[in-house]
Structure formats: structure tokens, C-alpha cells
């Protein structure tokens, strides 16, 4: 049977890819970064949007996500992405739902996904997100 060279090369590369990605997991590379303090959240927020200076922060209890507010009243949602963080400034498209002491925040961007945050003060953050109007 004649296997086209491109197919053979592709299959070989696919095996190498799976082996390398598997090894990365086996070697326990990556880990899980945490937003453990307000300082962590401020730093992460400043990295998401340069110049964003959070004056109020709320890190989720598991450290995997956070909300931050700046002096302009902008609210940023931050989530762990792999072992880094990614975030979005919430717009009127944002939706928030309460599940006990947790908030499920949807920034309105499907691929960013909904983020679940167990917070000490979910009600006030829910109210702020609900109140977001056009910039």
C-alpha cells in the first residue's frame, strides 16, 4: 500500500505532538497560579489592561478568578487560563447570576466562557455588574 508522504509525515508529527504534550503533563509542568490576595488581583488586572488600577478587588475563594473595579467604575473579570490569567472589562453585554455565595459571570464573549466565583460579598458585585451601562 502506498501511503502519501504528506499523510505519513502528518501522522508522525501527530504522534510526536501527543507524546510531547503528554510529557508536559507527566512532568507536572504548568501548575495552577492563584490570585491569593488583593495585590495579586491588582497585578493581574494591570496586566490585562495596562493602566487599570484596581481600587477594589474580590478574589474567588479558590483563587482561580477575580473581579476588580477601578476609579472610573470599570469592572474587570479575571479568570485563570492554564497557568496564566486572562480578563475582560465588562460591558453592558455582561450577565451575572447568583448561585448561593457564588456568582456566575458571563462577559458576553462566548469563547471566553462563563466564570464562577465564590465570593464573600457576592450581592454588591452582582448589583454593580447589573448596573453596567453603555460607556
Amino acid at each position: 500500500m502506498d501511503i502519501p508522504p504528506l499523510l505519513l509525515q502528518t501522522l508522525g508529527s501527530l504522534v510526536a505532538i501527543l507524546v510531547l504534550a503528554g510529557l508536559a503533563a507527566l512532568l507536572k509542568l504548568g501548575g495552577a497560579s492563584k490570585l491569593a490576595s488583593d495585590g495579586d488581583v491588582r497585578r493581574a488586572a494591570g496586566e490585562v489592561v495596562d493602566g487599570f488600577e484596581a481600587i477594589e478587588c474580590a478574589a474567588a475563594r479558590d483563587g482561580a478568578a477575580a473581579l476588580a473595579r477601578d476609579a472610573l467604575g470599570r469592572i474587570m473579570l479575571i479568570k485563570r487560563h492554564g497557568n496564566r490569567f486572562a480578563g475582560r472589562i465588562l460591558t453592558p453585554l455582561a450577565r451575572v447570576r447568583r448561585h448561593g455565595d457564588a456568582l456566575e459571570v458571563d462577559c458576553g464573549e462566548k469563547r471566553f466562557g462563563k466564570v464562577l466565583l465564590a465570593l464573600d460579598d457576592p450581592a454588591s458585585w452582582q448589583a454593580r455588574i447589573d448596573a453596567i451601562g453603555p460607556a
Binding site: L6, Q9, T10, S13, L14, A16, I17, L18, L20, A21, G22, L23, A24, A25, L27, K28, L29, G30, G31, S33, E47, V48, D50, G51, K79, H81, G82, N83, R84, A86, G87, R88, R111, F112, G113, A135
Partner: protein, 319 residues
């Protein structure tokens, strides 16, 4: 002349090098890798070779046609001209600088090139995170002057292949600095880390492929600083490991903007820099850098605040 692709021969070396860097990361910097990110980057690499094989025919056709109109003729045995190879390599690297710069400054080209930058990590697997959609841009046009000058398309392709192989090893945090003379002339891990950074100071800098001298010549060089940790990725980090979204997100965004924009602005969403918007609601890299400068008083080309470089104030004392 036999068919020869440097990148194909280098693939086993790429695999071994990634493996070696993972072992380094295991002991020194476990956070330098992330399994899902690695899987995504490597899949990008595989997809790009398949895409090039399937879609590269058009560019090849154009090159072969253009070669018929070459100004200089190096003869039928053009490959035997030893001096033509280094000359072609240097000119191809100059071409790379400009096509790469266009890849960051023209949204149509960025829609494709963003794939290479969308990882928040910087390691050897990031080097293999290559675009699938390069054939849908006009990047190949930048090589036409070389073809018209008389360099055979195969010679250009081989030089470009070696260029790409060179760029593999500079995608690492395992090497801090190379010897001074090397850093002065060649692109290095340090210079290229700057290129992958999202820190305002570093945005749209160090476009070089092999020789960093092009950036120094054309005013886009920025040295890496030891006192400012680099953040990698893109301004609006993906926040998703979905492969297809990672491949096409900027194309989808750009086409959406073109559809929604008023007629007189449609072309600008295709040809202007990423982040440009007709209503000023978004930020380009220049705008981000300017805000950062205004906020911090720092100039990206120096280590000092702008005020400290005021020639009048330089030797003066406070009143």
C-alpha cells in the same frame, strides 16, 4: 537541483529540543510550560505544514511566472553560484523583516500572524505555533523583488527555510543573553522575547528574523530590560484553548468589523493597524504605548523617565 526543505529535516531536532527544554523547565521553571498550551502550539505547527502543502501552490505559481521576467540571469546552474546563497539569505532576511513588520501593522496580515503570538507562554513549542492562514494574506508579494532580481524561487524557499529553522531556538526563556558581539548582530532569545511581549514598552518591536541589525537600521529595536518582567501573548488574551477559535478569531473579528463599519471605513479595518477603530473605541499599540508614556513618564528607548532626559534640566539643580 534536488528538492530540499530545511524545516523538514529539522523536525526531529525540534522535537528533541522541546523535550530538552521541558526537562529544564521541570527543574528550573515549571510554569514555563502548560500542557494544554503546548498541545495547542504543536497542533498549530502541524496544521500550518498541512495548510502550506495544500494552499502554497498559488504563491509558487506566481513566483515561477515572475521568474520569467527576472532582471539578472544567474544561468541554468544558478545553484552552483556560491556567492548567490549568502546574498540571497541576507536579502531574504531583509524581506522577512518587512513582511513581519507588515504582519504586525496591517490587520489583514495580523489576522494570520496573530496565531504565532496568541500563547501566553514563551518556549520552544511557541516557535512551532505557526499560522494556518498565511496563504490568504499577501505576504508572498514581499518576495517578488528577489525573484525579479534573478534569485530562483527554490533558492529563496531554501533560504527562507533556514531562516525559519534559525528562529526556532530563540523562542526560549532558558537562555538569558548571548555574548555581546552576538547580541549586537544576531536575533537572540533576549531580543525575540521583547517581540513577543505585551508590555507597552515592547509592543511592535524587534521584527528581525536572523539579523537584529534591521531593527536597529529601521528604528524598531528595543533591548530587553532586566527590571521589567515580560508578559507574553496578545493585548486581548484569548482565554480559550479552542484550536479553531485560536486559528480564526482575528479573521472573524476583522470580517465582522468590516461588515458593521460604515462604507468609508471598511477598507481601513482591513489595511490599518490592529486595534484601530473608526470611532476611537479601541486602542492600537501606538496608543497603548502613548498612554503608558504619559502615565509613567518613561520613554521606551531609555531606562529613564522622559523628564530626566531633558537636555536643559540635565546638568541643572532643583530650584
Amino acid at each position: 537541483m534536488p528538492e530540499f526543505s530545511p524545516t523538514q529535516y529539522a523536525v526531529p531536532l525540534f522535537v528533541i529540543a522541546v523535550l530538552a527544554e521541558m526537562i529544564w523547565a521541570r527543574f528550573k521553571r515549571p510554569d514555563a510550560y502548560e500542557p494544554k498550551d503546548t498541545l495547542l502550539s504543536l497542533t498549530f505547527g502541524l496544521g500550518s505544514t498541512v495548510a502550506a502543502a495544500l494552499l502554497g501552490g498559488f504563491a509558487l505559481y506566481v513566483f515561477i511566472e515572475a521568474y520569467e521576467y527576472r532582471i539578472l540571469d544567474f544561468g541554468d546552474e544558478w545553484w552552483a553560484l556560491w556567492w548567490a546563497w549568502p546574498l540571497c539569505f541576507v536579502l531574504d532576511d531583509l524581506k522577512y523583516y518587512w513582511v513581519h513588520r507588515a504582519g504586525h501593522r496591517i490587520r489583514w496580515m495580523w489576522a494570520s500572524h496573530v496565531n504565532h503570538h496568541s500563547s501566553q507562554h514563551y518556549n520552544l513549542s511557541t516557535a512551532l505555533r505557526q499560522s494556518w492562514t498565511g496563504a490568504f494574506t499577501f505576504g508572498f508579494v514581499f518576495a517578488l523583488p528577489l525573484v525579479l532580481l534573478g534569485f530562483h524561487p527554490a533558492m529563496i524557499a531554501i533560504c527562507a527555510g533556514f531562516n525559519l529553522v534559525y528562529q526556532f531556538w530563540i523562542h526560549t526563556e532558558a537562555i538569558r543573553r548571548m555574548p555581546r558581539w552576538f547580541e549586537a548582530v544576531m536575533n537572540t532569545p533576549s531580543h525575540h522575547r521583547v517581540h513577543h511581549a505585551t508590555n507597552p514598552r515592547y509592543l511592535d518591536r524587534n521584527y528581525a528574523g536572523v539579523f537584529i541589525v534591521w531593527d536597529k537600521l529601521f528604528g524598531t529595536f528595543e533591548p530587553e530590560r532586566d527590571d521589567e518582567p515580560i508578559r507574553y501573548g496578545i493585548i486581548r488574551q484569548l482565554g480559550s484553548f479552542n484550536l479553531l477559535w485560536a486559528v480564526f478569531h482575528e479573521w472573524i473579528g476583522m470580517i465582522g468589523d468590516i461588515v458593521r463599519a460604515p462604507w468609508k471605513h471598511k477598507l481601513s479595518y482591513l489595511l490599518r493597524e490592529p486595534g484601530w477603530s473608526h470611532d476611537g473605541t479601541r486602542e492600537t499599540s501606538d496608543m497603548i504605548r502613548e498612554s503608558w508614556r504619559a502615565r509613567t513618564g518613561q520613554d521606551s528607548r531609555t531606562a529613564e523617565p522622559v523628564a530626566n532626559r531633558n537636555p536643559i534640566a540635565e546638568h541643572g539643580e532643583a530650584a
